[in-house]
């Protein structure tokens, strides 16, 4: 019998196996808890390609694991867009933001899905995660900027998105300012992100204030993503596309968790055998009682 551990990081074997071609995916035994791990491997800023399971060393609470499968760019993406439409995002900035988001959705492939959450101090879920990408794109057309910024609350809400089983969840956050309206604290949302198992990328655009990105930096670090800083609005489209490309270039590692699985936090470490590289992966996963 398969079961869910944590909130999405550990998955049932069956959906994963169904989502991939049988010749590429090892057959998982039933009654196995599978840990999936999105891993970015860069050298000099460029993706390192051609790696296999034998190239990776993964430890779970210090215990080396057997990596069962490594795949690249084979599972469909499920992208939750979380866009800041507060009062500071008006005029040119909003125009560029919406064009960038539209470009990203247009670049998704058939079978991939997207959702759209707009936030100021209000959370405005425009479209749930859906394969109907046209509805997401049309939702973008009606957005205007107003109000304060509740970034943390928006991220918390986005973490609850219903991503399709078997898809690789990605949350892409755009913000241009300091949080001025959230109820939740940095730590509360970071803890939620730690448990959620979703890769979070963030795009920020030049802000005049101190550390608007301090929370965002910690967020993407916790969620194995990356912060993309735009120098100006005109960079947004390029960075949105880069974030998508980076996600596609990632390796998806799977290993079977050793039973009995201990409840609580599991610290993960990922490195390459015999090679140096910049590796970004989730720092761990959480198993509920």
């Amino acid at each position: 019998m398969t079961r869910w551990l944590g909130a999405g990081l550990l998955i049932a074997a069956a959906p994963l196996a169904q989502a991939q071609r049988p010749d590429q995916i090892p057959a998982f035994k039933s009654a196995v808890d599978v840990v999936r791990l999105d891993v970015s491997v860069l050298r000099n800023g460029n993706p390192v390609r051609g790696l296999t399971a034998a190239d990776f060393v993964v430890t779970d609470n210090g215990v080396q694991q057997v990596v069962d499968s490594v795949v690249v760019d084979q599972l469909p993406l499920s992208v939750q867009l979380v866009l800041d439409a507060s009062g500071s995002v008006v005029g040119n900035r909003l125009t560029h933001l919406l064009a960038a988001a539209d470009g990203l959705v247009a670049a998704l492939r058939p079978g991939e899905s997207a959702g759209l959450l707009i936030f100021s101090h209000r959370l405005r879920p425009i479209a749930p995660i859906t394969n109907d990408l046209g509805s997401v794109r049309s939702g973008l057309a009606a957005i205007t900027g107003e109000g304060l910024t509740a970034l943390r609350d928006a991220v918390q809400f986005a973490l609850a998105a219903d991503h399709a089983a078997g898809a690789r969840p990605l949350t892409l956050v755009f913000t241009d300012g300091v949080d001025t309206a959230s109820w939740l604290s940095d730590e509360e949302v970071l803890e939620s992100a730690r448990r959620a198992g979703t890769v979070i990328h963030a795009v920020s655009v030049g802000s005049r204030q101190i550390s608007p990105t301090r929370f965002v930096e910690r967020l993407v670090e916790t969620a194995a993503g990356r912060l993309w800083s735009a120098r100006s609005e005109s960079d947004l489209a390029r960075l949105f596309t880069s974030a998508l490309d980076e996600m596609r270039a990632r390796y998806l590692l799977s290993f079977a968790a050793q039973r009995p699985v201990r409840p609580g936090w599991h610290e993960l470490r990922v490195r390459l055998k015999n090679r140096g590289a910049d590796i970004t992966a989730r720092p761990g996963y959480f198993v509920a009682q």
Binding site: H121, L123, P125, F157, R195, A196
Partner: protein, 363 residues
Amino acid sequence: MTAALIDLAHAAGGASLRVRLLAWAALAWMLIPRPGLAQGYRQYLALLDGYASGEATEAATALAAWSDDRVRAAVRALERELLTVADGEGLVRTAVMLHTEAAFVEDADGRESFHLKVARSLVGRLLGNPRVGPAVRDFAARWHAQAAAQYCIRNDPLRARLEVNRGLTVDRNHPYVNLVAGALVEYGVVQEEPNPRGTWNIDGQRAYNLKNRLHQAALTYRGITANHPDFYEARLRLGWVLALNDSLDNGREQLEMVASRAPRADLSYLAHMFLGSLDERANRPAEAARAYEAARAAGAFQSSLIALMRIAGAHGEHERVRALAGEISDGAAADREDPWIGYRICVTGGELLNGLRGEAQRR
């Protein structure tokens, strides 16, 4: 005069419809050309009458569209007329509030200062009367507090602070002026430290300074509650700044008082939210969830729903998370004005504005 007609209707115990009919009849009378009364001034008086009869938004929006020169000419004419009318004070109060609201209607962006300057000069005129009584001083102080709060809403803390200082010169112990003074301190703290409920990003001398400012705000609120124990807005803010400043038990004591006694749902809502935060800080998630549920019972605003979502998510209650997310997704929560947002921008409910408006409409 129009004002006299309205007063007459009030005195006769007429219903609001009757008052409005009389007001609009008077408005029509005002619009009849008369020698010596410029058309611009007649229209200005019509707006004052419209405001006084309850058409506050319409009148303020109309005035906001006037050019500065046209407004100045009308106000000069008003000041001349004040020398001859009996109910001058009531007329000025109406004008003060009409300009105050015109300053902040959406289309008046960038013209706040002009209309507030006009309103301020009219307030000065009220205070300039050698026989000024406590009611006028109270109105003036509350007006300064309201103007300060509106500047705070517009993210202009410097002008807000100046307005508070003006209010303090009218009455240094006025509860509303002091309330907004404290709220401005809180506003400034959050501008410097956007994570006030969590581990602060800033440290060292800057953190020490912010703690000092919170302490000053607490002293201000304590001063209010000492003289006005039933002023629950001040007690709520006192409880929260004490909590932020690590005086947890004292903060809880104040907040529990507000939660159990405050007559307004928005204050009760915030008190429960703040108590929930204290429970979370004490690592008592079940109690925190109960407090957030109590807040939600007072009003299902976004902040309580997101707080409950987080706790449910941390306990792996995915169905519950979905249900709460659904409540936010249906849009109703986002469409309600969340008291938490008002709190962050110096406002807790509309009592101050409604009180001033009520007086301005009672001519």
